[in-house]
């Protein structure tokens, strides 16, 4: 009886699975016979520089700094828009002028609010 024309695919798949499994089994056998694990507390230590680690790796990080980063954004964005604003100052129509002033007012308001709340003081 002739084999199915696609039988070689099944054979390929079987070999492709069996070959790496056999290699892994040999490696595992070698490990069991000739590389017995010898774990210890010092050996399994997290740090590998010879110096024992101090304290816990799960420390609390002071998240206060993010407020400074956000407040810095006020100046960052302001500079970005104030420079073209200054360059086009003489040719601006009244509507654009009002919109720009409202924009600066919004940003300044945020800064004043943060200042008032004491966020600019490092605690």
């Amino acid at each position: 009886m002739n084999p199915h024309p696609f039988a070689f695919l099944a054979m390929f798949a079987a070999v492709a699975v069996a070959f790496p499994l056999a290699l892994l089994a040999v490696a595992r056998l070698w490990f069991r016979l000739f590389q017995p694990g010898k774990p210890s507390e010092v050996k399994n230590a997290i740090y590998e520089c010879g110096v024992p680690s101090t304290g816990d790796s799960w420390i609390q990080f002071k998240a206060h700094y993010y407020l400074y980063a956000i407040l810095f954004l006020i100046f960052d964005v302001e500079v970005l828009f104030l420079l073209p604003f200054a360059a086009a100052f003489r040719a601006l129509p009244a509507g654009a002028m009002l919109a720009m002033l409202a924009f600066i007012l919004l940003l300044a308001e945020g800064l004043v609010w943060a200042w008032h709340r004491g966020h600019l003081e490092w605690k």
Partner: protein, 216 residues
């Protein structure tokens, strides 16, 4: 491992040489294994003092430790086979050295490079100098010199390779990690009030016994 069946005849070196002349290479699993690992001894990237400069020189183009398969200086003890104690081990540094030695996987080897690592060298009388790393770590190869030249380190490495090739992977003279009941745990010394506690690892090192000659 003891087999009930009689051991197969082992060809002598002369017979092997004779066969090799006729183009037949005899080997065993053990020999192949030892040959392979003796040519890929990866040292730990760990320098202590002036000897480390010679160690670096040995790894560079002029002396080229790569010829012996040991150019791969590993920055992590988990990947290293060889600890080259290259320089003075102060008592402050000794726990770190022993901790690194503990973190290396077996089979591992130690080379004491230079007078300081062997005995404390010129600083032996110093209150803060360990008088030889072999008090805490089993040393395989001692390389004398102050500092030893790179050629001396290469010679030490070749001696170590010879030692590795001579090891068997079973039987009573198997390496320590294959012996049943060994933990391969080397206690890390602590800083005591005056000295390291303990001052030595008695399983590894005992002070030499002074034997007086009769009638002297």
């Amino acid at each position: 491992m003891s087999d009930a069946a009689p051991a197969p005849p082992v060809p002598t070196d002369a017979e092997r040489e004779e066969l090799r002349r006729h183009g037949i290479l005899l080997t065993s699993m053990e020999e192949l294994y030892n040959w392979g690992r003796s040519h890929s001894v990866w040292p730990l990237q760990f320098g202590l003092a002036c000897c480390a400069i010679e160690m670096i020189a040995a790894s560079m183009a002029r002396f080229d430790i790569a010829r012996f398969g040991s150019e791969v200086f590993r920055p992590s003890p988990r990947q290293a086979d060889l600890l080259i104690v290259s320089g003075t081990v102060t008592k402050k540094m000794a726990p770190a050295v022993v901790r690194l030695w503990n973190q290396m996987p077996e089979p591992k080897y130690c080379i004491a490079m230079g007078a300081c690592a062997i005995s404390g060298g010129p600083f032996k009388q110093g209150y803060n100098v360990l008088k030889g790393i072999d008090r805490f770590v089993p040393v395989d190869i001692y390389i004398p010199g102050c500092p030893p030249r790179p050629e001396a380190l290469l010679h030490g490495l070749m001696q170590l390779q010879e030692k590795i090739r001579g090891q068997s992977i079973s039987g009573p003279d198997a390496p320590r990690h294959l012996q049943a009941g060994t933990t391969c745990d080397y206690p890390v010394p602590q800083f005591g009030e005056h000295d390291l506690v303990p001052t030595k690892n008695p399983a590894v090192w005992q002070p030499p016994v002074l034997v007086r000659k009769e009638g002297a």
